[in-house]
C-alpha cells in the first residue's frame, strides 16, 4: 500500500463510497491519507479533542467506552464522524485488535469534503440512521 490508484480500488466497493464514479474515488484518495496502526494501538481516544474521520481499509478494531467493548469494526466501517460533526471529543476509544489500515481525513476537512460529496453524506446519514435505530431498539428491549 498504497498509491492513489490502489486506495481508489480499495474503497470502490465500500458502501459509503458506493455512489462515486472513478474520478471522484480518485479525488477521495487524494484528499484522505492512509494510516497504519499496529495491533493494540489506540486510534481514537475517548475524551481527547482534535480527532478525525476514519474509514477502515483492512484489519479490525474495537470500540471501547469506559472500558467496555461496544462494537467491532472491520473493512468498510467508518468511525470518528460523530465527534467531528458535533465538534466534541470522542465518547469511546477505538483500539486496533489486528493491524489496521485506514484512510483518514482530519476533522477540519470533513465538512468541506461532505459538502463536496453529497452522496457520501447521504450514505453516512443512512449508516447513522441504522445506528440510531439499533440504539433505540436496544433501549426499548431493556425497558
Amino acid at each position: 500500500m498504497a498509491t492513489r490508484d490502489e486506495i481508489a480500488d480499495a474503497i470502490a466497493g465500500m458502501a459509503i463510497f458506493a455512489d462515486l464514479a472513478r474520478p471522484q474515488l480518485m479525488g477521495v484518495a487524494s484528499r484522505f491519507e492512509e494510516a497504519f496502526f499496529p495491533k493494540d494501538a489506540r486510534v481514537l481516544r475517548q475524551g481527547l479533542t482534535g480527532s478525525g474521520f476514519y474509514v477502515i481499509l483492512d484489519g479490525e478494531a474495537d470500540v471501547v467506552a469506559d472500558g467496555q467493548k461496544r462494537a467491532t469494526l472491520a473493512r468498510g466501517d467508518f468511525f470518528g464522524e460523530v465527534s467531528v460533526l458535533l465538534g466534541e471529543p470522542p465518547i469511546a476509544d477505538v483500539v486496533a485488535t489486528r493491524p489496521l489500515r485506514c484512510v483518514v481525513l482530519g476533522g477540519p476537512a470533513v465538512e468541506g469534503f461532505l459538502v463536496d460529496h453529497p452522496r457520501v453524506m447521504y450514505r453516512m446519514l443512512q449508516a447513522s440512521a441504522r445506528r440510531l435505530r439499533g440504539a433505540n431498539q436496544r433501549a426499548a428491549a431493556s425497558q
Binding site: M1, A2, T3, R4, D5, A21, P23, Q24, M26, G27, S30, R31, E33, E34, A35, F36, F37, P38, A41, R42, R45, G47, L48, T49, G50, S51, G52, P89, P99, R101, V104, L105, G106, G107, P108, A109
Partner: protein, 507 residues
C-alpha cells in the same frame, strides 16, 4: 586524526545507515552516550539530500541569526533556527548562522551543506562513506533478533539497525506515457527551458519550487493534480505550498501565464511536432481536456528506499511507502529496526485537527533523534537520565515557560510534550521531552504533560493531567504574542494544577 574508512564490517550493537542530518544527529547522540555503533553511507560525503536539492538551491527552512538575543547556543534560539543540529557542547550549537551570507533567512543549499559538514567534522561524527547497504537478514537468537546488513564493503551484524535513508527514491504514478516525463530529480538547468511550455504534474512544494524558479524562463507553465493546492498560510502548518513559492499563484490569478489546474493526468503522448499532448480529466466535472507542452515534469514525490525491509516484515503505508512506526520510531512490525531523519514522519502521533508534526523536516526530526537515542540508551544500554527535582511552587512557571519557549513543543506540536512526574516517592521531577502518545498510552503514575498545539486557526498550550489512572486534557487560550507566562495563564494553569499539585499555585 580522521579515519577515512572507519567502522569496518563486523559486529556492532547499533548500525546507523545514512549520512544526512538525521543520521548525523543520531550518530552524534549515540557517541555522546558512548554507545558503540557503526555509521555507514552510500554517499561520498555528509549532507544527504542537501548535497543536491532543493533544485533551485535555496531552502524552505529558516534560520534567523539575530533571534533570541543572538544567543545561538541557547535552547531558545533553536525555535528560530530550523537548520542546525543539536549538541550538548555549546560551541557546536546553532552552526547554521555561521554559514549565512545575510541575503536571506533561508540558507542556500551550499550553506546548508557547509553547516552539516562542519557539524560532522567539529563533533567528530564519523561515517564510512561509499558503503552501500544492499540487503538485510534477520536471525532469531535467544537474546532477541539480530540483523545482518549486507553492504558493498561486507556484512554488519547488529542488535539495532537505525535507518536514516531519507524519502529519496523518485516516484512517478503509473500514468500512460509517464516515461515521456522527466522526474523532478532529473530537472535540467533553468536556461535550457527558455521559451518552453512546461506541464508540471503535481502541486506540492517541489512542483511550485520548479514553477517559481522557471517563471522567468518558460513561455507558459501549467501545474496539475486532482485536488486544489493549499498554501501553508491557509493550513497554518507546513502542510501545503510554502509562502516562498506563492508567486505562481499570483501569476495564475492575474492571468499571467501560469495555469493551476485541478485535474487528473490521464495520459501523455508525443505530437508530430516533437512536443507532448497531455490528456487531463477535470476534477470539478470529470470532463476531458488537453493541452500541449514542450516539456512534462513529474513533481510527483519520492518514496523511502527501504530495499528488502518490507520483505522482512516492515509494514509500510501511504504513497511515500513510509514505515509504520511506534512512539519511539521503531518499526511497528519488526522490533529492533528503528528509523531516523525525515522517515520519522511515518510516526504521525495524534495528528490532532489533521495537522501532522514537523518530523519530515530537520527542525522536527532532530528532536526525534535525541529522544530516540535517550530511549535506547536508557532501555538497552544502562544509561540513567538525570530527572531534576522541581519544587512544588515552581511547577506552574516551569510548564508555562516550556509552553512559551521550548523549541521541541513549538516544532513538534501535539507530538512532543514536556513532562513533569508527580510520583510520591521520587518527588516532583522534570522528565524532559516525551512523545505525547507515549505519555497518553504507556505512562503510569501521576504526571503532567505540556504541549503546544494548533487547530488550524490558532496556536495554544494544552495541559494533560494524569492522576489516579485518569487523564484530563485542558486547552489554554491562545495569546496574540504567543506569550503564555502572564498572570492570566498563571491563574488558569494554577486552577488546573491545584487538584494534582496542591501547592502549585501558591508561589
Amino acid at each position: 586524526m580522521v579515519d577515512e574508512r572507519p567502522f569496518p564490517p563486523g559486529e556492532y550493537p547499533v548500525v546507523v545507515v545514512g549520512s544526512g542530518p538525521g543520521a548525523l544527529q543520531t550518530s552524534y547522540f549515540l557517541s555522546r552516550y558512548g554507545i558503540d555503533h557503526a555509521t555507514i553511507s552510500a554517499d561520498p560525503s555528509a549532507g544527504g539530500m542537501f548535497r543536491k536539492w532543493p533544485f533551485f538551491q535555496r531552502l524552505l527552512s529558516w534560520t534567523k541569526p539575530y533571534a533570541a538575543g543572538a544567543d545561538r547556543q541557547s535552547r531558545a534560539f533553536q525555535r528560530w533556527d530550523w537548520n542546525s543540529l543539536l549538541a550538548r557542547e555549546p560551541e557546536l550549537r546553532g552552526l547554521q548562522a555561521e554559514f549565512m551570507d545575510g541575503t536571506s533567512d533561508f540558507p542556500s543549499r551550499p550553506e546548508m551543506e557547509a553547516n552539516l559538514a562542519a557539524f560532522a567534522e567539529r563533533a567528530g561524527v564519523q561515517v564510512r562513506y561509499g558503503c552501500t547497504w544492499e540487503s538485510t537478514r534477520r536471525e532469531e537468537t535467544a537474546d532477541g533478533d539480530r540483523f545482518t546488513l549486507v553492504t558493498s564493503d561486507g556484512e554488519y551484524r547488529c542488535r539495532f539497525a537505525i535507518f536514516a535513508v531519507g524519502v529519496s527514491e523518485p516516484y512517478s504514478p503509473a500514468t500512460p506515457g509517464i516515461e515521456l516525463a522527466v522526474h523532478y530529480a532529473d530537472t535540467r538547468d533553468a536556461p535550457s527551458y527558455a521559451g518552453h511550455r512546461l506541464f508540471i504534474i503535481g502541486k506540492q512544494n517541489s512542483g511550485f519550487e520548479l514553477a517559481t524558479g522557471l517563471l522567468q524562463w518558460a513561455s507558459r507553465i501549467s501545474l496539475s493534480s486532482p485536488s486544489p493546492a493549499k498554501t501553508s498560510i491557509e493550513t497554518h502548518s507546513l502542510v501545503g505550498v510554502r509562502a516562498r513559492y506563492v508567486q505562481p499563484f499570483e501569476d495564475s490569478i492575474l492571468g499571467g501565464g501560469v495555469d493551476i489546474l485541478s485535474a487528473s493526468t490521464k495520459g501523455i503522448e508525443r505530437t508530430p511536432a516533437g512536443g507532448f499532448l497531455v490528456k487531463l480529466e477535470r476534477s470539478d466535472n470529470a470532463m476531458p481536456m488537453t493541452l500541449e507542452a514542450d516539456e512534462v515534469i513529474a513533481a510527483t514525490g519520492f518514496t523511502c528506499p527501504l530495499r528488502d525491509l518490507p520483505a522482512l516484515g516492515v509494514a509500510t503505508f501511504g504513497q511515500s511507502k513510509l514505515p509504520a512506526q511506534t512512539d519511539f520510531w521503531e518499526s511497528a512490525t519488526v522490533p529492533g529496526i528503528f528509523f531516523a531523519g525525515t522517515i520519522t514522519q511515518g510516526a504521525a502521533g495524534l495528528k490532532k485537527h489533521g495537522i501532522p508534526p514537523n518530523s519530515g523536516a530537520l527542525h522536527g526530526y532532530r528532536y526525534n533523534a535525541r529522544v530516540l537515542v535517550d530511549h535506547l540508551a536508557e532501555t538497552y544500554f544502562g544509561a540513567v537520565h538525570e530527572r531534576p527535582a522541581i519544587a512544588e511552587g515552581d511547577v506552574r512557571d516551569h510548564l508555562l515557560a516550556e509552553a512559551t519557549r521550548a523549541p521541541e513543543l513549538w516544532h513538534q506540536k501535539a507530538f512532543l510534550a514536556s513532562v513533569v512526574s508527580l510520583d510520591g516517592s521520587a518527588g516532583i521531577r522534570n522528565e524532559g521531552i516525551v512523545p505525547l502518545t507515549r505519555f497518553l498510552d504507556a505512562g503510569d503514575g501521576d504526571a503532567i504533560a505540556m504541549t503546544v498545539e494548533s487547530d488550524g486557526t490558532t496556536i495554544f498550550p494544552v495541559v494533560y493531567v494524569r492522576r489516579g489512572g485518569r487523564q484530563e486534557e485542558h486547552a489554554l487560550e491562545p495569546d496574540p504574542l504567543n506569550d503564555f507566562e502572564g498572570p492570566t495563564y498563571r491563574r488558569a494553569l494554577g486552577q488546573i494544577l491545584d487538584r494534582a499539585v496542591p501547592g502549585a499555585s501558591a508561589a
